[in-house]
């Protein structure tokens, strides 16, 4: 029996400041699941994701709105909200002593639809020295009705010693 969660592409990088993955989104799917399975940053930093336009260029306009709930294991939960950002972003974490210390699933809605905004939900977990484990629930929107074809993952500082991701289409 055919499956309806279809693998599209994996990508990885070592010692890179960012990872851009093109030709991910197409007319074949409306909804995508992006799993970042390793994001070993060189310093404490947030993880950012931006979308690539129809020709594979990063959409850098301040058109991303974000809201996320940080569920911290050592203290009260916190909430953060931002409008007019240049990407979707996560809680800042560190991986100095903890290789691959991240779990990250992002669902992307309607990125290829040129008449629709692009929406995301994210469930993620991080480890940060001094705070311990953190779970994060995140929503975001790119307020630009345009065709998006890929993603760029980057840190707000430093680089990735290692980064790996896989993308699936929900048919």
């Amino acid at each position: 029996m055919a499956t309806n969660l279809e693998f599209i592409k994996s990508a990885s990088g070592t010692s890179v400041s960012s990872l851009s993955v093109t030709d991910l989104f197409s007319a074949d799917y409306d909804v995508y699941e992006v799993y970042i399975t390793s994001a070993d940053q060189s310093s404490t930093a947030g993880l950012w994701v931006s979308l690539l336009d129809s020709v594979g260029s990063e959409i850098t306009s301040a058109s991303y709105d974000n809201a996320y709930l940080n569920m911290l294991s050592n203290t009260s939960f916190s909430e953060e909200r931002y409008t007019g950002q240049t990407g979707f972003f996560s809680f800042a974490y560190n991986t100095t002593s903890y290789e691959q210390s991240i779990g990250f699933k992002m669902v992307v809605f309607n990125p290829y639809n040129s008449s629709s905004y692009s929406f995301v939900t994210v469930q993620s977990s991080f480890y940060r020295q001094g705070l311990g484990g953190v779970g994060c629930k995140h929503i975001g929107v790119l307020k630009s009705a345009e065709t998006c074809t890929g993603i760029k993952v980057f840190g707000n500082t430093g680089s990735f010693d290692d980064i790996q991701l896989s993308v699936y289409g929900v048919k």
């Binding site: 499956t3 309806n4 909804v31 909200r81 669902v107 809605f109 929406f119 975001g140 929900v170």
Partner: protein, 175 residues
């Protein structure tokens, strides 16, 4: 390699319609867990509420036995806790309309729908651009506190219609 996410039913709106049912006569009871994907939901009427009910034998259940608890994430103001018991539906979006960008998207997982001697449960994650041109989303769950078997979900707008392109898809997670 065989996969484990199996499409059961899909409804893509091609002309305005007030409600959509997933499952019902198309329901496949051979799964324990179901995933529902709803995307690009748009409406033709302002200040409409986007809601759902579970179905039994294809009929939406209107009894006051819907409990929910979610965290409401908002980009423009303090987050909210949304909690209700004994409701007659699940409120996905409190107000949406026809302005630029207004849309709702969600992923839901449904549990125990086939068990007539247990309640039905669900988890839900939504992201919307609502009537105030602001992003919001719910993260949480619901329980249908009735010992009944359910065989689908009925989505509707309290006023107006879903417009063309609104897409509803039901999957089973292979055992």
């Amino acid at each position: 390699m065989a996969g484990s996410l199996i499409k059961i039913d899909e409804e893509i709106v091609t002309s305005a319609v007030a409600s959509v049912t997933l499952g019902g006569s198309d329901w496949d009871s051979s799964y324990d867990v179901y995933m529902v994907k709803v995307n690009n939901i748009q409406t033709d009427t302002d200040t409409a509420r986007f809601q759902f009910r579970v179905t039994t034998s294809g009929t939406p259940q209107t009894d006051a036995n819907y409990d929910r608890a979610t965290k409401l994430l908002l980009a423009h103001t303090t987050f909210g806790n949304v909690y209700n018991v004994n409701q007659t539906n699940f409120d996905i979006v409190g107000s949406m309309g026809t302005a630029t960008g207004e849309q709702s998207n969600l992923v839901m997982y449904c549990f125990n729908f086939n068990n007539a001697s247990e309640y039905s449960f669900g988890t839900i994650e939504t992201v919307d651009f609502g009537s105030s041109a602001r992003i919001q989303g719910q993260q949480g769950g619901f329980v249908k506190t009735t010992t009944e078997a359910n065989d689908g979900l009925h989505f509707y707008m309290t006023t107006g219609n879903f417009t063309s392109g609104s897409t509803f898809t039901l999957y089973g997670l292979k055992k």
